[in-house]
């Protein structure tokens, strides 16, 4: 059993009671909600005649269903309009702070909370969304919950949960040029498998992780869930503190030093005990692309799609399903695969640094004529910042469409969808069957820089070739 890790310390601090049966009742320091997974929870509160216990510990925004072309109200899609209205009504009724469209702080919930300084080390954070693991980048214990648990958090500010085990993933050396956090995390998921994280929290550590910016760390923790880990985290350091400093909800003045002292104290101790430790060499990671229907089915850009015999018996089944769905052959290259759509955005890679990297690749270049490319900033703040830096113009000049913030084609609940069996190069996090809105649409996950490279060439490309020139 793990001891003295950040996870243990934060868990113990937030434990309210041991429940009959062996799970723990855990206090949730910050609860985030959005329009898709909260309405039924508010409905259940009403049915049980319960109130929101600590409305000030819940913050709302709208992201999944918002259109990214025309955001004027009412939305053209009646169902989407009904969902945002329900959230507005619930927040108003229960006095929950809601960052609506046009507030300057709306966006994908996992992009917005860190920007506001809401996400801080040592907290427990829950949201009815599996990518809540993102917030672990700050040294918080953050995990996705279902709607019934959203109801529990609203009603009690606590949930019932079994304590997780802790696996440290130690990343040696550093990433080479043209290789990003996205490549590293895809590589990790490929090595460990998509279900290895079940029952675990992942602690990402080592020189390669220390080197990453906060936004890159968010990309890593974001995808913990794709490796089966409900929560992933990184111990806080100077970078964490300076990211938080001066944000809207950050500790101020005399509280700042107090906060730092406490944040320092909750890091994993030197002599922590882990349930498991895995080491890997980050310098060996190449730009990585998925070829299948799970985020674990990925290869380096210069590798070939595996043969069935190369895979463990457990992985063969889903590989066969993937070959058939994707229309790829075992042993074929992923490089030069033609793409129809290029999408930059999502809570994995829709932050300002992602847009900067992609814009650098796209500068003075044109999107390949048959490719439909669009960029969806992760939040209104990201959009504003990008415009100040002129990134929107670089995207537009290259032929990318510049959109309004939201989840968009990460899960296609708005009108941005693949059509038929189109293939997209996507900076998002899931390549599941049908994920991007068409029941036979196909998704290749990669870093934003790689999406930009694919957009220019009209096919999967090695972004490092753009960097040499």
């Amino acid at each position: 059993m793990s001891q003295n890790t950040l996870f243990d310390k934060v868990w113990d601090l937030h434990k309210v009671s041991s429940l009959p049966g062996g799970s723990d009742q855990i206090f949730i320091g910050l609860h985030l909600i959005h329009e898709v997974t909260s309405p039924q929870a508010f409905g259940a509160l009403k049915d049980k005649n319960l109130k929101v216990k600590f409305p000030e510990r819940t913050v709302a925004t709208v992201d999944h269903i918002v259109p990214t072309d025309n955001q004027s109200r009412p939305f053209k899609d009646n169902l989407a309009e009904q969902m945002i209205e329900t959230l507005e009504k619930n927040c108003l009724e229960h006095k929950i702070r809601f960052f609506n469209i046009g507030s300057g702080n709306q966006g994908i919930v996992h992009v917005v909370a860190p920007e506001l300084g809401l996400t801080q080390p040592g907290m427990t954070i829950a949201c009815g969304d599996s990518h809540t693991s993102t917030h672990g980048a700050f040294g918080s214990i953050a995990f996705g919950i279902g709607t019934s648990q959203v109801r529990d958090v609203l009603a009690t500010q606590t949930i019932a949960m079994n304590k997780l085990k802790v696996r440290q993933i130690w990343c040696d050396n550093k990433l080479s040029k043209g290789v990003y956090a996205k490549d590293l995390v895809l590589h990790i998921i490929n090595k460990l498998g998509v279900k290895a994280g079940a029952g675990f929290a992942y602690e990402f550590a080592g020189p390669a992780i220390d080197e990453l910016s906060m936004e890159e760390r968010m990309t890593i923790c974001n995808m913990s869930i794709e490796g089966g880990a409900r929560c992933g985290y990184i111990n806080p350091d100077e970078k964490t503190f300076s990211y938080i400093k001066n944000k809207l909800c950050a500790p101020k003045n005399k509280y700042w030093d107090k906060a730092i002292t406490w944040w320092d104290s909750i890091k994993s101790d030197e002599n922590s005990i882990y349930d498991d430790v895995i080491k890997l060499d980050a310098s060996k990671v190449e730009p990585t692309v998925t070829w299948g229907i799970t985020p674990g089915q990925s290869i380096g850009i210069n590798q070939k799609i595996p043969l069935l015999d190369d895979l463990s018996p457990n992985d063969q089944f889903i590989a066969e399903e993937a070959f058939e769905y994707m229309g790829f052959n075992p042993g074929q290259s992923i490089k030069d695969t033609p793409v129809d759509v290029c999408f930059i955005g999502s809570c994995t890679n829709g932050r300002i640094s992602d847009l900067r990297v992609a814009a650098e690749v796209l500068k003075d270049k044109k999107v390949y004529k048959e490719v439909k490319a669009f960029v969806v900033p992760g939040s209104e703040k990201v959009a504003i910042q990008a415009k100040q830096e002129g990134l929107d113009m670089i995207f537009k000049d290259s032929g990318f469409q510049w959109r309004e913030p939201g989840c968009s084609m990460c899960l296609a609940m708005n009108s941005d969808k693949l059509i038929g069996n189109e293939i997209s190069a996507s900076s998002s996090n899931r390549n599941f069957k049908g994920r991007q809105g068409s029941p036979n649409g196909r998704t290749l996950l990669m870093s934003p820089a790689m999406v930009a490279a694919a957009a220019i060439n009209g096919k999967v490309s090695d972004v490092r070739e753009f960097m040499k020139k």
């Binding site: 049966g21 079994n162 089944f317 069957k433």
Partner: protein, 207 residues
């Protein structure tokens, strides 16, 4: 036409029913219920759309479309079932279609807790036993009697030792799987916790 849906309440000690097999690893919640069906403010209509895209692709031959399965209540799956999105819409859709219990090689964490929270016990079994059940020629008429007290599933000529997390098993047996009321019992402790968390003292209020 299925009979009207009534959600489970209270103690769950016994589940008897016909099995339905769904073969495949890593079946994610986007497949169980595609995102376009999440545009709803309640779960009422989800049962009709469970596995919609997979069913559409298989044009009538998906297990959830076969006439012989229409009264099935126990779903038999392989490994990492329910991975991906946290959407509780996925178990809600299964439940509204008629599923009352799931037996599989393994489940994704969030999916598992969502199932427990709405009263669907999820059991694990070894890969070998699952395959035995799934390959059983008479599978379409395999009826199981699941006994939660002893974690056993029995049919005419089969006895399976099921595994389930002890905490979940106890919750179902005592009827306390609907966590809200149990959590509310500790109101004083919750208040105390709120008052002793360091970051709540030094945080700026959300304005």
């Amino acid at each position: 036409m299925k009979s009207k849906f009534t959600p489970p309440i209270g103690k769950i000690t016994q589940i008897n029913g016909q099995c339905i097999s769904l073969i495949g690893n890593d079946i994610d919640t986007d497949r169980i219920i595609p995102a376009r069906f999440l545009k709803c403010v309640n779960f009422d209509l989800l049962g009709e759309s469970v596995f919609e895209d997979d069913r559409e692709t298989l044009k009538g031959s998906h297990p959830f479309d076969l006439e012989e399965n229409k009264n099935a209540t126990i779903l038999i799956v392989n490994s990492n079932f329910g991975c991906g999105s946290s959407r509780e819409h996925a178990p809600q859709a299964l439940m509204r279609w008629g599923i009352k219990a799931i037996i599989g090689e393994s489940f994704a964490d969030i999916f598992y807790s969502n199932c427990i929270a709405i009263g669907i016990p999820c059991f694990t079994l070894s890969k070998k036993s699952i395959q035995e059940v799934q390959n059983n020629k008479d599978n379409k008429f395999l009826f199981l009697e699941i006994d939660l007290k002893n974690s056993l599933a029995k049919s005419k000529d089969l006895t399976l030792n099921l595994e389930i997390k002890e905490s979940s098993r106890k919750m179902f047996l005592s009827g306390e799987w609907d966590a809200t009321s149990t959590l509310l019992e500790n109101e004083d402790f919750i208040e105390n916790k709120l008052n002793c968390l360091p970051y709540l003292e030094f945080n700026s209020p959300i304005t």
